[in-house]
Amino acid sequence: MSTVELFSDPGNGNLGSGKHNPIRITDAAMITALGDNLQETWRQILRGVTAVRPVSRFPVDNYSSRLAACIEDLKPSGGRSMTHALVDRLFGDMGPVPPDAFLITATTKAGIDNLELLCRGYPAHAQDILLSSIPDMISEKLGMRTGGINISASCASSTVALARGAGMIAQRKTEAVLVCCVDLVTEFIFSGFSALKALSPIPCQPFDRDRQGLSVGEGAAALLLMSEERAKREDRPPLGTIQGWGMANDASHITAPAKSGRGLVQAISQALRMAQKQPEEITAINAHGTGTIYNDLMELTAFRQIFGERKIPIYSVKGAVGHCLGAAGGIEAALGLKTLSAQLIPPTAGLVTPMEEAIGRVSSESVTISGDTLLTTNSGFGGINAALVLVS
């Protein structure tokens, strides 16, 4: 334990005041319970349908909900965690990844399904339980030159991973970063949220007056980030850019969000400052929108502090794909790129009667927008909040 002093770094410093080139997102893929790829998931989300259904993967009789958004045909094989099958399917829809790209993965529980098996006396690969198993697996599957790292920041894991990947490129530590996120629906997760009384007995209803909690989901996403120069050199047209990011801790409670929204306000303010954007330049917000009483209220409180009385369009996809935990932010960033390219806010599935603070902001229908800048935010246990500014 010691104190050390940092000397000036040769990179592109002081991004906080917004001086870096935009980080290009040149490829994106995903798999969710709504679809095997990004296009299909987006198509189903626009239909307003939900993937939250009765769980058949494990017995749910003793839990406060019987619903989750599971990928129906996802099965473990050969003692390997289901994360292997999920990642195999994820990259089927993605273009080539440069072997020199740095790999950052995001997961909260990695192959926790294998810990369940081992604790019940069934054979399973213990390695898959480790958080570092995810970058190991993906690096090997894609033949990447670096082993990579995994980032865990609860339900903001992949948003933090995207921020750090963008930071590495902005500071010229690397030209390309693959961010890959994955989390599963397991009895471990389900029983925990049930014990915390956080599960909704019906498909979750983000920003609804009668919301009762969250619906767990699973999925994976991959986003390839590149410097402008590298993307041009490789002739990879951008799907969008990351122009700013921010992260902050509430420093108030490990499971409940700060009622004032203080941490989220700090994260958004930092992201806007880095992107050199004013609040009025934000076209819409992809919110965390879990459907829990406290999260949704906290978010609207925070948004009001940043955006005032403006009726900025806000949406949540968790009523459609469930809360995919550490993978949520990556899935939502990829869907956010679709939002900007289609100029269409997707419906917030599950919404029936908006909270008073959400009236005129959140809709159960698709809404046409006109603008190029999306704010996407996630918050999680441990008080972490993260925000990204995406531009088409």
Partner: protein
Amino acid sequence: MGCAKDHDRFVMTDGQLPHVSAGAVFDKPYPQFRRMDEYSRLGLAAIAFSLKDAGLHDFEEKRNIGIIASTLYGCLNTDIEFLRTVMPSRGMHARPALFSYTLPNTFLGEAAIRFRLTGATFTISEQTPMGPACLQMALECITSGEADKMLCGLCNSPVPSPFEVISKVPPGALFFMIEKSPWKGSSYGRVGLGKNGRLEFKGIPVSGLDRLVKRCLSGR
């Protein structure tokens, strides 16, 4: 166990960790501490000592300081303990308080609350448990202006059989406090990335966090 300034030598090896009690770490009462899991107590104690070592343990206002912790096994012990409350009766007796600690970054939230730290908090996991990745990311957070100061280090609690066969890592936790130059107080020295991107301390490459501690101590 303690602050670097109180020790002449440092070593992380296999073996039993000392019992970490609140009284041995914190100046003020901290009843929540004994309700935490072992992994959280270990990490929180190391963060407390690091802040004390840096003279940053007395505070009133919230501070824009972030924390990045590297961990190989994370809260695996707590995961196993939680599953033992789930399995016998298929979830009827799952303990919610225990579930809260089944995330590797929960202890960073506890540290943020205790020490009023509002910067980014997250854990990283990599193949090299003593590797410099957490330090490199902390440097990026500071040079980019995202945080004023950063705590970074590692935390690994002892892991039960059969899981320790996956990879060996000595149990323990250590954290550094990093601030951008010019640092007004006393410091162990200057750390950063050299032209080749390698971690350097006082201009000499260092390969891992344990080596960095030794260099800090030897250079006083």
